[in-house]
């Protein structure tokens, strides 16, 4: 092993592996985000329910999940659920936990977005005798969702970074790959730096796109 400050040959030798880890990170992020977007909407709708026996428990659950660390939730999904017969691969368990955790965040965005819809829209839908489903799908959501896109985008970027925590439950994503490479050669500088660079190369441009979207929707 050469005594350079930053060994580029070493970097080139492990880069293919690290990129494989990045692919897993991206897969986890996308699947978990879709899950968070759907669960968040369900939680937001549930919290708005006129039946307090639905709205209040869902509200309490959202508050509880938001107030506890993702890492502990991951451990619960990974260590506790199998004891009750729910055995799933770490990749799936981690993705579900990440999606559920961020679902509680996206539900707040949906809630704010739905609250921003003018009362007149609801009244008009009722006056036209629209069914609740048609009111939601045809009137409320199409107006509420576009302004939420920047905020949802922010959470997509956050989830991409937070997915690193899945390394703690043995999901071989970017961070765990970097750590394994480092442990094998006892050189941590290059793998962790390159992992950081890869995270940055994706999340920074994405956050710039989100900023542009924010400006676009703020202008309206």
């Amino acid at each position: 092993m050469s005594e350079q400050f930053f060994d580029w040959e070493y970097v080139i030798s492990f880069m293919p592996k690290l990129l494989e880890g990045l692919v897993v990170t991206i897969e986890v992020t996308i699947v978990a985000f879709i899950l968070a977007a759907i669960l968040g909407l369900l939680m937001a709708l549930g919290r708005r329910s006129s039946n307090p026996w639905i709205a209040q428990p869902i509200g309490a659950l959202v508050e509880f999940i938001r107030s506890t660390p993702l890492l502990v939730q991951l451990f619960i999904f990974f260590y506790v659920l199998p004891r009750y017969g729910l055995r799933m691969p770490a990749f799936i368990v981690g993705t579900i936990a990440l999606g559920l955790h961020y679902g509680t965040y996206t539900s707040e965005i949906y809630r704010a977005g739905i609250d921003a819809i003018d009362r007149g829209q609801w009244e008009a839908a009722r006056a036209l005798n629209f069914s609740p489903v048609r009111t939601w799908v045809g009137i409320v959501l199409p107006q509420a969702i576009p302004p939420m896109i920047p905020a949802l985008g922010n959470y997509l970027v956050a989830m991409f970074k937070e997915s690193a925590q899945l390394s703690a439950i043995t999901v071989v994503e970017l961070t765990l790959t970097a750590r394994t490479i480092g442990t094998q050669s006892f050189r941590f500088l290059e793998p962790f730096t390159m992992a950081g660079v890869l995270y940055f190369l994706i999340s920074y441009p994405s956050s710039l796109v989100v900023q542009r979207l924010e400006k676009r929707y703020a202008g309206k």
């Binding site: 209040q56 939730q73 451990f75 937070e162 941590f188 730096t193």
Partner: protein, 253 residues
């Protein structure tokens, strides 16, 4: 009576949280009766509470570092000096653009080895990573708050011949503070939750003690549910505090 209704809704809000916590208590109880341990039921708590001390210590030290970093970097990013602005911008974007876990691992695994040879205790590494990461987000909050102050205020201060220091102290900071406090409260909650990550660098916080207990005594369900409740009891008062601050702000403006 609208007031009474409001009160009822409020009580019901908390009632369900209490019911939820009770449900977790019952789950732990059922778990204990199904798989009775040899020792007393709450023998785990003292060990977890030892971890709680580490979690609280980390949260406080991390928050102190984050606060200093956020104010310095936030003011520096609003500075007219291009080099100062670029350097702090680089710091903020790097720490916001990468994963906090990678930052923690970088500080813990890379710094002790050559060429840095800077060995840090796990606690120092944890405080550094948490403080620098949350500080970077805080810097953006500070910058946003400074930027939101109407330029007339600054012009008036200049017209009154205030020195930049006096202007900061008397005009900008008091007004920015109102905007800063609620997001800082949210960051404190994020910091508290992020302290759980130090369990991955062998620092014996609540989560670490839980993982150790799982290995030594088993009783996985009980251990992790207790940990969740501990974090919730720490974080939820902060959440309520932030909401209170937000209401104060709405009332003030």
């Amino acid at each position: 009576m609208p007031n009474e209704d409001h009160l009822l809704v409020k009580i019901r809000n908390y009632a369900f949280l209490v019911i939820g916590l009770l449900a977790i208590g019952i789950a732990i109880g059922v778990e204990l009766t199904v798989n009775p341990p040899e020792t007393a039921p709450f023998d785990l708590l003292p060990i977890l509470l030892r971890g709680l001390a580490v979690t609280i210590e980390l949260t406080l030290l991390g928050a102190a570092l984050a606060l200093v970093v956020a104010i310095v970097a936030g003011v520096a990013r609003s500075s007219g000096h291009i080099i100062v602005r670029t350097i702090t911008g680089f710091y903020v974007e790097v720490f916001r653009g990468t994963s906090i876990l990678v930052q923690l691992f970088w500080i813990f695994f890379v710094l002790p080895l050559p060429p840095f040879n800077l060995s840090l205790t796990p606690l120092q590494a944890g405080v550094l990573a948490l403080g620098l990461n949350v500080g970077a987000y805080g810097a953006e909050v500070v910058r946003g708050a400074i930027g939101a102050i109407p330029s007339g205020q600054i012009e008036a201060s200049i017209a009154l011949n205030m020195s930049p220091g006096l202007m900061m102290r008397r005009v900008i900071i008091p007004q920015a503070m109102v905007r800063i406090l609620p997001p800082f409260g949210n960051l404190l909650i994020e910091l508290l939750k992020a302290t759980s990550l130090v369990s991955l660098i062998t620092l014996s916080d609540v989560t670490f003690q839980g993982l150790a207990l799982r290995q030594s005594v088993g009783r996985t369900t009980e251990v992790f549910l207790l940990i969740l409740v501990i974090y919730f009891l720490l974080a939820y008062p902060l959440t309520l505090g932030v909401r209170w601050l937000e209401r104060q702000r709405q009332w003030a403006t």
